[in-house]
């Protein structure tokens, strides 16, 4: 077969493959693009309480600037994000190190360590709601048994954000640990052997070798958790619905209520698109960081 004929055959094969995969590609792109484009369009619409719709231009976005609830929601979102992410990364790395070194740990114990993130967040939220009930819950019973004062947990404007962050960290720290454990298992043993020969202590080995080598993995875990944490919804919705007052009213909860309880779909779309932009920004920043720490 001549070169020209071979090229023709290859082109034909490529064309056939493209034609065969086109429906799936078009379907997938449409499934992603349609909701996004529709939400962008909705963001330029105004809906009255009765559902009447009219073109609003940038009014929904200018309303954001003067809306106290938006800025408060943004603050709550960021506070929850930072607190939860720090807790999950610190304890996730610690748990991964424990699981990595405790090689004799039975499989069932390992499974128990990582089981919380297999639980649906709604179930986790319900469970913690019962545990943290200030009157009937086990948490205050334990505190009081130890001679400590009871807490109002989710009902306290001061403690609600740390409490929600703790619940989320209980659920997702094992997920971070699993990712970091994978990273730990892929580290080159030769580096550790060299450190051992040089007489490096365990702490120095962790500080100077393990942590720098693990950084790309940790950043990957941070990216994955960032996307979820900035969209924080289910646990708050189940446990506090944004309260007490508006102390745990994240942007996502606020947008949901504006859209589905007050029927202002246009403004809710503007809120959600702003949140999407924030999530994108965070992911891009972490991607750059990952590039910087890659080895």
């Amino acid at each position: 077969m001549s070169d020209a004929a071979a090229t023709l055959t290859q082109d034909r094969q490529r064309l056939e493959l493209s034609a065969l995969s086109a429906p799936a590609v078009i379907f997938t792109v449409a499934m992603i693009a349609f909701p996004v484009l529709y939400t962008i369009w909705l963001g330029f619409q105004s809906f009255s309480s009765t559902g009447r719709q009219s073109f609003a231009g940038l009014a929904n976005y200018s309303k954001l600037i003067s809306d106290y609830e938006f800025w408060h929601g943004l603050w709550v979102t960021i506070a929850l994000y930072v607190l939860s992410l720090v807790l999950q990364l610190v304890f996730g790395v610690w748990l991964a190190l424990v699981l990595f070194h405790a090689k004799r740990l039975p499989g069932i114990v390992r499974s128990m360590f990582i089981s919380p993130f297999m639980m649906p967040p709604v179930v986790a939220g319900m469970m913690w709601l019962v545990i943290l009930d200030p009157s009937l819950g086990a948490a205050n019973y334990i505190l009081q048994s130890l001679g400590l004062p009871p807490s109002e947990w989710l009902a306290s404007p001061t403690w609600v954000i740390p409490t929600v962050a703790l619940i989320d960290s209980w659920q997702w720290t094992p997920y971070v640990a699993l990712i970091v454990l994978g990273g730990l298992q892929s580290l080159p043993p030769s580096v550790y052997e060299a450190a051992q020969i040089d007489g490096a202590s365990a702490l120095k080995t962790f500080q100077r070798i393990t942590l720098p080598l693990l950084l790309p993995t940790i950043v990957t875990a941070a990216i994955l958790r960032s996307v979820d944490l900035l969209r924080f919804f289910d646990i708050i919705y189940i446990t506090t619905q944004g309260g007490p007052g508006n102390a745990s009213n994240t942007l996502n909860i606020y947008g949901f209520r504006v859209g589905f309880e007050f029927f202002n779909i246009g403004y809710a779309s503007a809120l959600m698109l702003t949140l999407t932009a924030i999530v994108f920004g965070a992911v891009l920043a972490f991607n750059r960081l990952r590039g910087a720490v890659a080895w």
Binding site: S48, S49, T50, G51, R52, D133, P134, S135, L136, P150, E152, W153, L154, A155, S156, P157, T239, T240, Q241, G242, G243, P244, G245, N246, G259, F260, E261, F262, F263, I265
Partner: protein, 433 residues
């Protein structure tokens, strides 16, 4: 013509003709007219719907139709409804609605089918539209259109522990002031018991708060403006929040009906304002059956103006089969089904069912059920269905009422500041068209 002749020649034939005509009308009503159709029912998984769907097979047998039940928790049900209605989809034929909450809004949005004609022309004789609570039918009528048929009647009532009150030397509270005095005594008598609880979760507060506001003599609006900073409005804000702050359980700002019923059932609270609908949950397990007393919501300066609401069944304006949907609504709100639901503890919105011998026998079996029925009778006769502001954006208005109360429970604002902030936000909401 003597009396016997009159009876034989005129009265008896007339009575017979009326009876035959009624029978003919009943016979004319063909329950199997839409055999083979499928009706989709969007339900809230509350005790009312759960009781109703236990008779699903009976409906299918009677009509030959298939009933598809799409059940969710209340907020998820509304979320689904908003999505379906905004898309003008016909996938829901019948849905549950709270006219006191979303009636104005849904009616203005055109989501309800008009049931006025169907409820007159397409009814079985035994249906008896006039036998339904007129107050609830009125609450479900907007701009002259009947939008839903009542499924139950409910409202906040006082649940109290007879044993604790007796032990602490407290009489059954008859007024709101009595409740506070009783709570004070119980707190001193038994510190392990929570003296009082009511709804403290922001969106849930309006349900019990409205009853207190009306009993004290306040109103949500005056001259088209929000009225929470009126003397009566401030008194209600202060009293409601003080009761919860000083005598309520820790964390009461997250309490809605689930938490209140759980706390009461566990035996750790002496008095509570909660929905009459919660009786079944509160008595579940039987532990509270013998030591619970029930009474209408205690009176204020204006006496008793109880909140009486009911879930309704509406036909979607986008349904492509409103008549089969109406058949389901008619069956579900018929005297027979409402009687069967009443025997499961769902308060009937029909006075005739409340007087049914079988139902009375069930009521008379336990003293607490008698008190429950007595409280329901007060709801049925004196009830007001105003919960939150009587405006299209009623659900949003409840947020601001709840916020003001929570600010006071959490001591974040003074009464003057909390009511002023709420009035400002509510005036803006009232101004929205």
């Amino acid at each position: 013509m003597n009396a016997r002749m009159f009876a034989a020649r005129v009265a008896l034939p007339v009575v017979a003709a009326v009876a035959v005509s009624a029978q003919a009308r009943a016979a004319d009503f063909e329950w199997k007219k839409f055999q083979g159709k499928t009706v989709t029912f969007l339900a809230n998984n509350n005790p009312v719907a759960l009781a109703l769907v236990t008779y699903k097979a009976d409906f299918e047998k009677l009509t030959g139709m298939t009933l598809k039940v799409d059940g969710y928790q209340e907020q998820q049900m509304r979320q689904r409804l908003v999505t379906v209605m905004n898309a003008r989809s016909d996938e829901v034929d019948v849905f549950m609605t709270l006219p006191s909450r979303e009636g104005e809004q849904f009616a203005a949005a055109g989501w309800y089918a008009d049931l006025s004609a169907m409820s007159k022309n397409e009814v079985a004789t035994e249906y008896d539209v006039a036998g339904l609570s007129q107050a609830l039918l009125k609450a479900g009528t907007f701009n002259g259109k009947l939008t839903s048929m009542p499924m139950n009647i409910e409202g906040p009532i006082l649940y109290y522990r007879t044993d604790i009150l007796k032990r602490c030397g407290v009489e059954k509270p008859a007024t709101i002031k009595d409740v506070e005095a009783a709570a004070q005594k119980i707190k001193a008598c038994d510190p392990a018991i929570t003296p009082f609880v009511s709804r403290g979760l922001k969106p849930a507060i309006a349900y019990t708060f409205s009853n207190m506001l009306h009993n004290i003599g306040g109103s949500y609006m005056a001259n088209g403006k929000s009225n929470l900073c009126s003397a009566k409005g401030k008194e209600t804000l202060d009293t409601y929040s003080r009761l919860l702050r000083d005598y309520g359980p820790p964390g009461v700002v997250n309490y809605s009906f689930q938490q209140i019923s759980a706390l009461y059932r566990s035996g750790r609270v002496a008095m509570s304002f909660e929905s009459s609908n919660e009786l079944r949950t509160v008595l579940d397990g039987g532990e509270r059956l013998k030591d619970t007393g029930l009474a209408p919501f205690p009176a204020g300066e204006a006496g008793q103006v109880p909140t009486a609401i009911g879930w309704g069944m509406a036909v979607s304006a986008h349904s492509k089969q409103p008549s089969p949907a109406w058949y389901f609504v008619q069956w579900a709100t018929s005297p027979e089904i409402q009687k069967r639901m009443a025997l499961q503890g769902i308060a009937p919105p029909r006075p005739a069912v409340a007087n049914d011998p079988e139902y009375r026998k069930w009521i008379d079996a336990e003293p607490v059920r008698k008190e429950w029925q007595a409280a329901l009778d007060v709801l049925a006769t004196k009830g007001s269905s105003e919960v939150g502001y009587p405006i299209v954006a009623n659900p949003e208005s409840r947020e601001f009422i709840g916020q003001a109360v929570q600010d006071l429970i959490l001591k974040q604002k003074s009464v003057d500041q909390a009511c002023a902030d709420a009035d400002k936000a509510l005036d803006a909401l009232i101004a929205q068209k």
